[in-house]
Symmetry: C2
Subunit: 334 residues, 2 copies
């Protein structure tokens, strides 16, 4: 990875240092980009309770599991999932070798530049395109392809690298939970091998703490070198009811905190907050058309409908991006 991808963490670190210094070394606000009250108050209250020894809500550090969705929760997902933009770029790169794609959906839509039609089949259509473009690649070759793309690609609206379009308040929340001995996992509908390429540099979350959709893989010795090869069969669709399955498979424990933004996270929040003891479900609501995007019930990407209906009933906290967050991205002036 280039140094560029360490940018958000560096920014966070610099801010933490600055905050400490200005307080003369006393405990500073761990969530400076969050407005007081609302979601912030619920988070701080919850963390205080589960970490207070002797409290009825105390949770042992080894059981302090927090799971975060990625697209729309840790970084933006408009105008398309960033991984979809990567896959589309790959399809256009490979198209000269695949003349048949001009007549074949969803490839034909991608080549025509009609992203909406190409993604009409949702996560599954995306995974099928991933399969078609990566058959026979080794896991290492795939990682390099993603690294190279992240280095060069720019977001169509902001002109920034995709890895800098992460949410500053979420970097702070991850850091705050980590300082309170939480183990932080990404539980993404996106591809596990895709997210693992940047998760450690961008969020400080190592590959083994990333859960995501996956293809099958096999082990072989290729020209004398042992490698993992991606094969074009779906292993896990880590979305909707697949998220608790992915959590069980990879983590083996019910989370204490789950954070999402769409109905694809409903089952994860339901599974999490139905556990015994103190639990917290958080939903990021995209309400800020000026600084980010505003969308929920009618959006094709990141649709949030049932989750809004049931949040109160289930005790889930809505994070209203416009009113809860002082800043969105690390690159903004404060």
């Amino acid at each position: 990875m280039s140094n560029r991808h360490t940018f958000p963490i560096l920014v966070l670190t610099l801010f933490s240092v600055a905050a400490c210094a200005s307080n003369g070394g006393t405990t500073s606000d761990p969530l400076p980009s969050w407005n007081d009250g609302g979601a912030k108050a619920a988070i701080v209250d919850m963390v205080s309770r589960v970490t207070a020894e002797g409290s009825a809500d105390f949770v042992r550090p080894s059981e302090r599991i927090a799971t975060f969705d990625n697209d729309g929760t840790l970084w933006s997902e408009q105008p398309l999932y960033f991984q979809a933009i990567y896959v589309f770029d790959r399809i256009r790169e490979l198209a000269p070798k695949h003349p048949e794609w001009k007549e074949q959906e969803p490839f034909a839509s991608v080549i025509r530049g009609d992203a909406k039609s190409a993604l009409a089949g949702g996560e599954k259509a995306l995974l099928e395109m991933v399969m078609a473009t990566h058959t026979g690649l080794t896991a290492a070759e795939f990682s390099i392809s993603v690294e190279n793309w992240l280095d060069g690609a720019r977001h169509p609206k902001s002109g920034k690298p995709f890895t800098s379009m992460v949410f500053q308040p979420m970097l702070e929340l991850i850091d705050y939970l980590r300082q309170n001995d939480f183990k932080i996992f990404i539980v993404s509908g996106g591809g596990i091998d895709f997210v693992r390429v940047f998760s450690e540099d961008v969020y400080g979350i190592p590959p083994e703490r990333v859960v995501g959709s996956s293809l099958e893989a096999k082990y072989e010795v290729r020209d004398g070198t042992p490698v993992i090869v991606k094969i074009p069969e779906i292993d896990l669709i880590n979305d909707k009811e697949g998220k608790p399955v992915g959590i069980h498979r990879y983590i083996g424990r019910r989370p204490v905190i789950a954070v999402g933004n769409s109905d694809g996270d409903y089952a994860m929040l339901q599974y999490t907050t139905s556990g015994s003891g103190a639990r917290l479900g958080l939903i990021v609501r995209h309400t800020d058309a000026e600084r980010e995007w505003a969308y929920d019930r009618d959006s094709h990407i990141g649709r949030l409908d049932r989750g809004l209906d049931d949040a109160d009933k289930n005790g889930w906290i809505i994070i209203d991006m416009k009113s809860d967050w002082k800043r969105i991205y690390p690159f903004e002036n404060n």
Copy 2:
């Protein structure tokens, strides 16, 4: 879990404390149950090199991955894999409800007490018996069943709880690697949900750092309660060439150190030690018929044949149980 299962860790802790005290607080031998030289020297040399900043072999802490097989590597596996004994006990418990099993293999062999025939099909036969005996159980119900069994069952030869038949030198090795900022994973041919029940209490390895063979699972809301239900389809056979696949799936990085004892670990060691930079492959050879068991090339359980042939060529270190280990089990007198 009952307190009984914390026994090995407690013993290890007490020994560490005693060792420190006798040295007046200076750095004590981190591997007191290992004889000097041989495997111990190779381990200490490797750890020193990868942790020395500025060394050509330095490995960043986040990439210090060590993977351990379980059966025959961290605990004994004779006269049968301990999980097989659990499954056989379950089959005998459920047999009155399944009169058809008397005519049906491998169940008929289990009911007759012929373990060898029942296990002729290897890990896969074992997984099939797991499936037959656990269909429709929730993950939580399965865990309770294993916990209860571990509490009451005793090893047929030693008369000890199975969780006390772990190898004291391996508890020390895990602790030593952890102190050197390694992340320790179990990568077992046994069932992931089985090993996760006791891995944290017995080895200090939390569930999310256990990789193993697995059944498919689904998420459902059962009588209003969200649960994970085990379903009778094989997901991953985490043995032989399946081990590097499991490592890729769960960890996403090539290990720096891999420890096994049978040809089921060959691919894991090959994948590990073919990586660039310093790597270490260790094979426990069961050579001590008096204190544990002696078996290798001709054994049905834990067969070690190709691994012995190729160890020198591949630079793998053989741990000779009889000569390398001062003690085997935590409960032995020193």
